[in-house]
């Protein structure tokens, strides 16, 4: 299966859009008509064919454009990619995980040959052909984590495990929903989750941490998170708030269907073999309201979820300014009919 990579932008003229196939495979995050935080963790097992869960690492039609956007972000702000010195082994673990997975599942696009430590990596969509020595940083043009994540969709955090806690000691974060690696780097699980409302009180983070400390090699898990973004902008970072914060005031009843996007993060977690670290991947998918309502079940359901969302959550996710206008738009696509259980379209 060859993917047709699109040429599109996530800034300035915002030409990003989803093909009809990309809409159908969108990881819609609501299996009910309401939403509240929970320890929504499941095994990261292969899902339905063509869905974003089919393979451990999902590469889609936006791949090339997203990698271009990441390069632009890194050029302006190198601190989006940081790694403390003790994370080098985990970086190499990540190189292995991503190269193996991409080459195995997308052989038309990526190829990996290994002979002992002599590795040969070919990335056709980005025109890269690299021979290197696994474990020897001097044989790559970038440090290992940066090298491979400049070629893989999604943000990545590498968490060291020590003293029964996880520490965000490395990462590359250029497509984030308003949080900063530069701020969080070196923090523990509960410290970096500090700003999240309500979830601490209902024990979500206690249980999630306990679960993650025993995460097993070969048994990755995943969860979905969501927020909303004005314009298809991947880089909604605190560092660049001055560029995108103002976008929230530009929504009108006329443009809401085109400007307002549901932003879903497919987050997966793996135990890494050599370092015993955990990698947390955050893969963002964007869909504008006009595209979302082409799936009637999703239009109905998202209307109800957004209408009834707890105000604390709406505030934390930054939806307050345009929520009502979006609910009004979606109301026109909700005839009140019952929705079927589960995430997938009818």
């Amino acid at each position: 299966m060859t993917i047709q990579f699109k040429s599109e932008t996530f800034r300035d003229d915002f030409t990003f859009s989803n093909s009809p196939e990309a809409i159908r495979r969108f990881p819609f995050p609501f299996d009910k008509d309401e939403y509240m935080y929970a320890v929504n963790i499941e095994q990261h097992m292969p899902g339905p064919i063509k869905s974003p869960y089919e393979f451990p690492i999902d590469i889609d039609e936006h791949y090339v454009a997203e990698m271009r956007d990441r390069a632009l972000v890194l050029k302006e702000d190198p601190l989006r990619c940081q790694s403390l010195p003790h994370m080098l082994t985990a970086e190499w673990d990540l190189v292995e995980l991503l190269m193996e997975s991409m080459a195995k599942n997308y052989p038309e696009h990526f190829e990996l040959t290994r002979e002992g430590d002599a590795w040969h990596w070919i990335n056709r969509p980005l025109g890269i052909d690299q021979k290197f020595t696994f474990g020897d940083t001097s044989t790559l043009p970038y440090p290992p984590m940066e090298y491979i994540t400049r070629q893989c969709q999604g943000d990545f955090c590498l968490c060291d495990q020590r003293n029964d806690d996880l520490w965000m000691d490395a990462g590359i974060v250029t497509t984030q929903a308003d949080w900063s690696l530069d701020f969080d780097v070196g923090m523990s699980f509960k410290e970096w989750h500090g700003p999240v409302p309500l979830a601490h009180d209902i024990g979500v983070f206690d249980r999630a941490l306990k679960f993650l400390l025993n995460l097993q090699q070969g048994r990755p898990v995943r969860r979905l998170n969501w927020t909303m973004t004005i314009n298809p902008r991947l880089d909604t970072s605190p560092e660049n708030y001055h560029k995108w914060g103002i976008d929230r005031t530009t929504v009108t009843p006329e443009n809401v269907g085109n400007k307002v996007h549901l932003r879903v993060e497919l987050q997966a977690l793996w135990r890494l073999p050599r370092s015993n670290a955990i990698v947390f991947s955050i893969r963002a998918y964007l869909i504008k309201m006009e595209e979302l309502v082409t799936i009637p079940k999703w239009g109905r359901r998202f209307h109800r979820v957004l209408r009834d969302l707890r105000p604390e959550l709406a505030d934390y996710k930054g939806l307050t300014r345009f929520r009502q206008m979006t609910v009004d738009y979606l109301a026109k696509h909700d005839d009140g009919a019952p929705t079927s259980p589960g995430f997938f379209p009818d």
Binding site: M87, R162, R274
Partner: protein
């Protein structure tokens, strides 16, 4: 399956290291490389003793560079109910076993400035892997290895060859003992200590560390805790609707597995927390043996670690 992904292996070599310790080299049946592991990790080995399933955790010593094999070292314990006895008497080159993916409950702290590795007897197995990893990373370390006598030091030669004067031996029969007051002072700030060995040794070293003012976060241990026997009792698995007997030579987890219920586990040694189970009710006194639950949790009577703990009494009802 409840212990994670399983890997069928073939024993390709058995080496009698000392009178009571054998080393086993395990190769994957699939031919695919065994996954790399981080030093300090163990695997749970499943043995089939004529239909009786025995599962014991064993630390990984090393992995062949190309992933074609792992090595483990097994001490034959006196009065074994089966596990170490079976490994010593029945397991030969060519035999099949099943292991789990590696699990690490005794990792090296990567932010540490220096690492003191203390091993007693068979507790040397994870320490051996840690020393090799620290050497590979060119990190500062010392190895303190205690044993009954030189002949029972299963890893002396290999360790000496790899680590030279970073290795210090302590032979009981020569009145040499690891002394906390000698190894702890004058270590640089940010030094971490790791101890694995007999219970008494672990306690003494940890106590010495605390008394010398070391922070708790810098003291690490692994206990090769095994379930002990006890009086038999009944267990009721409420959700499964099953009642089973726990024999005196069986752990609670083993009896539950024998009854056909797959309960989660990772270490089978009371350390990881994976087998934590809610107690619905019990007619008797819970006999807690684990190092995972807090004292308050033990006292509350609401939780039990089924891999090592049991009931002194008649009947235990679990939420399983």
């Amino acid at each position: 399956m409840s212990g994670g992904v399983e890997i069928p292996v073939r024993v390709v070599d058995v080496e009698q290291a000392t009178e009571t310790v054998k080393r086993f080299r395990l190769a994957p049946l699939s031919g695919e490389a065994l996954p790399p592991f981080s030093a300090g990790a163990h695997v749970v080995v499943t043995m089939d003793d004529h239909g009786r399933r025995i599962r014991n955790p064993y630390s990984l010593i090393d992995r062949a560079e190309d992933g074609s094999s792992y090595r483990i070292g097994v001490l034959r314990v006196p009065n074994s109910r089966g596990g170490s006895k079976f490994m010593h008497e029945n397991v030969k080159a060519g035999d099949r076993l099943v292991i789990t993916m590696p699990v690490n409950l005794f990792p090296i702290v990567r932010t540490g400035r220096k690492h003191l590795l203390v091993a007693g007897g068979i507790g040397v197995t994870p320490i051996y892997a840690m020393a090799n990893e620290l050497k590979r990373r060119s990190a500062p370390y010392e190895i303190h290895y205690a044993m009954r006598n030189e002949a029972s030091g299963a890893f002396i030669d290999e360790l000496r060859a790899a680590h030279g004067d970073k290795l210090k031996l302590y032979r009981d029969d020569m009145q040499e003992f690891v002394s906390v007051s000698e190894i702890l002072p004058n270590q640089p700030l940010g030094t971490h200590l790791y101890v694995c060995g007999p219970e008494g040794m672990i306690e003494a070293i940890l106590k010495g560390g605390r008394e010398a003012g070391w922070p708790e976060e810098n003291l690490h241990c692994e206990r090769f805790l095994a379930p002990t026997g006890g009086e038999p009792f009944s267990v009721v698995l409420q959700r499964a609707g099953i009642t089973a007997e726990v024999r005196s030579d069986q752990s609670l987890l083993e009896a539950i597995e024998e009854a056909g219920v797959d309960a989660p586990f990772l270490c089978r040694g009371g350390a990881c927390g994976q087998c934590e189970t809610t107690v619905v009710s019990c007619d008797g006194e819970l006999d807690h043996k684990d190092h995972y639950l807090t004292e308050e949790e033990h006292a509350s009577g609401k939780k039990i670690m089924i891999c090592v703990s049991r009931l002194k009494g008649r009947e235990l009802v679990l939420d399983l």
